[in-house]
């Protein structure tokens, strides 16, 4: 293997792994703290992508700026959704009840959001070209928007790490993740933490959507691909541990590239799912899920 190929593999794994990680962290965080499997998570990603697309096409606003607008839009959407659809559900003490009804409700939400986006913007795929220039660094070539994606994803992962491990809010969230009953006993405001988890999860999805929109086509049904990714990365990395999502994302990113390079991508999904099954047999809670 040529040395340049080696570096391309490292870079590509990192680039894809970080975006996988980012996509999965928001999904994992919400499930960990509320036990809601948000099937509409992919649609929040699509909304972020559309925000970036329209701001760029209509007002030439670059995606890094659109991130802030996407955050605001996702908060505006998520707040009423939480109040109307999830707040009462989360008052239940039964984890199974929350899990089952959470899936049903967010499944309905997913279809409604897809339908809404298709109605308003049509199902036709869209795209835009931003920082699509190739740059050469140490005789390796990179596309600028991919480098930007890596930088923003890495910053986001660090910010989330700081938020979850170094702030009171994060510590409260993690307490709820690790032992909800104890967290409630010591007087944590569960509803507030649930709401913040939902908002944070939606915001992460929105930011991931903005980043993905720079590389992929945008359409109302794009979310399903990323929802499945979030599922796999969360299962590999470990439910209940955002750090697990980070590691799972990088691992899957690297696997994706390596399988493509060696065996060929035709068997990519088969190998990844086979490894997932094997891993879950050995460690049912994923790599970092404890137990």
């Amino acid at each position: 293997m040529e040395i340049s190929t080696f570096f391309y593999i490292i870079f590509s794994s990192l680039q894809i792994g970080l975006i996988y990680a980012l996509v999965s962290i928001g999904f994992n965080l919400l499930y960990s703290s509320t036990k809601i499997i948000n099937v509409a998570y992919g649609e929040f990603i699509a909304i972020g992508a559309y925000v970036a697309y329209w701001l760029f096409v209509l007002y030439a606003i670059p995606p890094p700026v659109s991130i802030f607008v996407a955050v605001a839009v996702l908060i505006l959407i998520s707040l009423p959704l939480y109040q109307i659809l999830l707040k009462r559900l989360l008052e239940s003490k039964s984890v199974e009840y929350i899990e089952i009804w959470g899936v049903i409700i967010t499944f309905g939400l997913s279809i409604m959001l897809q339908g809404f986006m298709a109605f308003v913007w049509s199902a036709q795929s869209k795209g835009y070209s931003y920082l699509d220039q190739v740059v050469e660094i140490f005789s390796l070539t990179f596309i600028l928007n991919k480098i930007l994606t890596i930088i923003i994803s890495a910053i986001m992962v660090l910010v989330l790490y700081y938020l979850l491990f170094r702030t009171d809010l994060g510590i409260s969230m993690r307490s709820v993740i690790q032992d909800p009953e104890l967290a409630e006993t010591i007087g944590l405001e569960m509803n507030k933490i649930f709401l913040l988890s939902f908002l944070l999860s939606s915001i992460i999805a929105g930011i991931a959507g903005v980043l993905l929109s720079m590389s992929f086509e945008i359409h109302p049904f794009m979310g399903s691909t990323y929802l499945i990714l979030a599922f796999i990365v969360t299962a590999v990395g470990g439910i209940g541990n955002p750090i697990g999502s980070f590691i799972g994302g990088l691992l899957l990113g690297a696997l994706n590239v390596l399988i493509g390079y060696t065996i060929g991508p035709g068997l990519n999904l088969f190998i990844i799912y086979a490894l997932l099954v094997a891993l879950l047999i050995i460690r049912p809670k994923g790599l970092m899920g404890g137990g």
Partner: protein
């Protein structure tokens, strides 16, 4: 208990909303009298189309092309049907099949039995075309297919009398590809393909013809799952073989992915060919003029080749805004106009009689002749387009049917940009 009731209510609302999406959507002919039903006031044509799911992008283009044709026909008074002694406007009844073959199959049955449509138009995509065959055979209503590329052996296996395939078979398009490659003189070819029936068949025949004619080596031959989010590993392998041609039998989403990652990895073959997807709106928007320059894509029509087709294309642009002349649009019109001509020739709305006309007659359409032999259009064109200065231009047109494919010199094409310029930096 209260929680449960609220949740139940929400679910019911969701289910109702979902149910509403499944109501037939009707487009009325302009203007339609609403008086009590006389003998015949319109031709009711039904179809299901992918307005959601994996095929929604191309399905939407196809649906829009149907709409443009309907308005165009109705603006001329409709289709003349001899048995009624007048022109009848076209009315659509259609459903979203969510890109699911099973759903499409039951929707076509519903269109025939409940909505009682007179005739049918095709759904989107090869696999959905195939899924509805048992229904149209059972009820004996012809469908002039469009976005379906099916191998001859499979068409024969279907033993269909009512499904007609306008799109050139993979054997035919693959042979056109190979004539192009041989004509240019490339020697090392990498063939990649999305793992769908249509693209696998194209790639298979593509490889076979190259090997049969012995003018070049196939240095990479690899498939990848549809919906891949990354193909860099595979493309690094391609880069290592230093091919002078990369041929990707792509679908829309992966056409963007492959192009973007080829550019990123600075893979610069003299010839870079994409299948369907290289001519979509998203592809056009995604890459700037310099990046697209020299990329070759597969098509079946181009407004520059047929001035009459340009009229429909201009109507499309006026109604829906900018869109490159993608294959889904052209194919939709080829099938609509063929059906229209068949109705006119048959002079009746009797589907069996129309089927017989389709099976035996030759149709002049704004896209050239259409003639079905054993259910397959043997007059279809394979148009090779190239992105030049930000626009899609026809560079080669092939006619004929496997194994007698040849260059159609009667069409005026533009000179090919070769070798493809390196990716801009």
């Amino acid at each position: 208990m209260k929680n449960k009731l609220v949740l139940l209510a929400l679910i019911m609302v969701a289910v109702l909303l979902f149910g509403c999406l499944q109501q037939p959507q009707q487009t009325q002919p302009t203007p339609t009298p609403t008086a009590a039903k006389p003998a015949k006031e319109s031709i009711k044509i039904g179809f299901s189309i992918s307005l959601s799911g994996s095929g929604a992008g191309a399905g939407t283009e196809q649906y829009r092309a149907y709409e443009v044709w309907r308005e165009w026909v109705n603006s001329n008074g409709g289709i003349y049907v001899e048995e009624y002694g007048k022109k009848l406007p076209v009315e659509f009844v259609y459903y979203d099949d969510a890109s699911e073959p099973a759903r499409a199959k039951s929707l076509y049955e519903k269109l025939i039995l409940e909505d009682k449509v007179d005739l049918l138009l095709a759904p989107w995509g090869t696999f959905i075309h195939l899924a509805i065959v048992p229904v149209i055979e059972k009820y004996k209503i012809p469908v002039v297919g469009n976005t379906a590329g099916v191998e001859l052996s499979k068409i024969n296996e279907l033993q269909t009398k009512y499904e007609f395939f306008t799109y050139p078979t993979p054997e035919t398009t693959a042979m056109a590809y190979v004539l192009l490659l041989e004509n240019i003189g490339v020697k090392r070819i990498a063939i990649l393909y999305a793992q769908t029936d249509f693209t696998v068949a194209n790639a298979k025949w593509n490889k076979k013809f190259i090997e049969d004619r012995k003018f070049a080596d196939v240095v990479v031959y690899e498939g990848y799952p549809l919906g891949s989010t990354d193909l860099k590993g595979l493309l690094l392998k391609v880069k290592g073989t230093d091919p002078d041609a990369v041929v990707v039998h792509s679908y829309p989403a992966d056409a963007i992915l492959v192009t973007s990652q080829m550019k990123e990895l600075d893979i610069n073959p003299n010839l870079f060919v994409l299948g369907v997807g290289g001519q979509t709106l998203a592809f056009d928007q995604k890459f700037d003029k310099k990046t697209k320059e020299g990329i070759v894509v597969l098509n079946t029509w181009h407004p520059d080749l047929h001035p009459e087709a340009a009229e429909l294309y201009n109507l499309y642009l006026k109604k829906y805004g900018h869109n490159p002349p993608s294959h889904a649009i052209g194919l939709a019109w080829i099938s609509c106009i063929t059906l229209q001509k068949a109705i006119e020739k048959a002079g009746t709305l009797d589907p069996v009689k129309i089927r017989d006309v389709l099976a035996t007659e030759t149709f002049q359409t704004p896209f050239g002749e259409v003639k079905f032999e054993n259910q397959v259009n043997v007059k279809g064109l394979t148009v090779i387009d190239q992105w030049q200065n930000g626009e899609l231009k026809p560079i080669y047109v092939f006619k004929g049917f496997y194994p007698n494919v040849e260059l159609a010199k009667e069409f005026k094409t533009v000179e090919m940009v070769y070798p493809k310029p390196s990716w801009p930096k």
